[in-house]
Symmetry: C2
Subunit: 193 residues, 2 copies
DNA sequence: CGGGAAAGTTGAACTAGTTCAAAAAAGACA
DNA sequence: TGTCTTTTTTGAACTAGTTCAACTTTCCCG
């Protein structure tokens, strides 16, 4: 149950068996079936989660009611509304399972206890947040610099596993284009091969 | 020299006078005159900086040679290429002073010493990175959801001080539109008042 | 296995934003 | 103060991406 989580953490810091036991103790396994909502706009995000199995999306409903995907999370990725979770304020985001999923979750009070009792956790989440932030900066730059077809090619090159699992509608909502236009981009690209 | 920095830090964690002395010791004051480059694409970013005075921009040169602004930093803001600095790898970004500026800088080895000798610093930068990340998520969402005129209005509402200090070219490069189009947006908006 | 719903495709008309070029306005500084 | 440079404005022609509607394909589940 914790093997994927331990692997993920070892990428950033080393924990002894005892330390990892202490770290993982407050996490509980949450099952979510396809289409189940784990967070709705307006609620306070009660968890930070590590995806053990499945696929989820974090999305935003814009003024016209269109869904825009902030990010996806599959096995080995963390998922939360960082703003709502860290400040315990109302969320503007929604989180939904796109497949039957299993998520290791920790609540806000337990996470704070972890920070106090196991100071290495402080470094762990600092480093993880830095990396996530650098990745989002690269996406922001790409979104400022590239047209939709380049962003699409970038996406499927970077996340080939995701391309298989996601519908084109979901990818379009991530790329910030209409699904009709993504369909046209794909047609154009396939003609070139 | 350190008053602004101390104020900024107190927003996140409390440090005693001794602790703050220990914290601030490795920072040095760097002067930069208008148009001076502090980081060029390809270099390793040698500093993390706190802006005491002035205004700078972090930008990216896209394939067509256009400059896209990732962010601006004025008094009270931090500035670095987080990816290049934390991994000590070649940067894809450029940092330039838009006005004569003063930046309190710390180098990579000294920052690591701080993390070890003053564990609170770990929490400080974790919390700061989380907030910066949440802010970038909001910008990403806005960029996915809104047209240029809304993003412009959002920008000048959120950063009225910046609007005064930046040229329209710089704002356009931040919004991801051509400066000609920003000029047209401004004309349209001013007609509506 | 069949039928209904959801996802993907296509075309036509439209809109947001770009590009280029030229002129006007605003700064910079000797 | 004048002049040179940079920034901003404007218009015209263009391109990327949207919207809507109709159709086809895929998939889900009773």
């Amino acid at each position: 149950m914790y093997t994927l989580l331990r692997e993920n953490i070892e990428k950033h810091i080393h924990l002894t068996d005892e330390e990892f036991a202490q770290f993982s103790a407050p996490f509980y396994l949450q099952h979510a079936e396809k289409k189940q909502m784990l967070l709705r706009e307006g609620e306070v995000c009660k968890f930070e989660g590590f995806v053990n199995k499945g696929c989820l999306r974090v999305y935003y409903l814009d003024e016209s009611g269109f869904e825009k995907v902030l990010y996806f999370a599959v096995e080995g990725w963390w998922i939360t509304d960082i703003d709502s979770f860290t400040n315990q304020t109302a969320s503007i985001l929604n989180i939904e399972a796109l497949e039957d999923s299993e998520i290791l979750m920790i609540t806000y009070p337990y996470k704070n206890i972890l920070y106090e009792t196991l100071p290495k956790v402080e470094k762990l989440f600092r480093v993880m947040t830095q990396k996530t932030h650098a990745a989002l900066q690269r996406r922001m730059i790409s979104s400022l610099s590239n047209t939709a077809d380049k962003r699409y090619l970038e996406f499927i090159t970077k996340y080939p596993q995701l391309e298989q699992r996601l519908s084109q509608q979901q990818m379009a909502a991530y790329l910030g284009i209409s699904h009709e236009f993504l369909s046209k981009i794909r047609k154009k690209i396939s003609r070139l091969r």
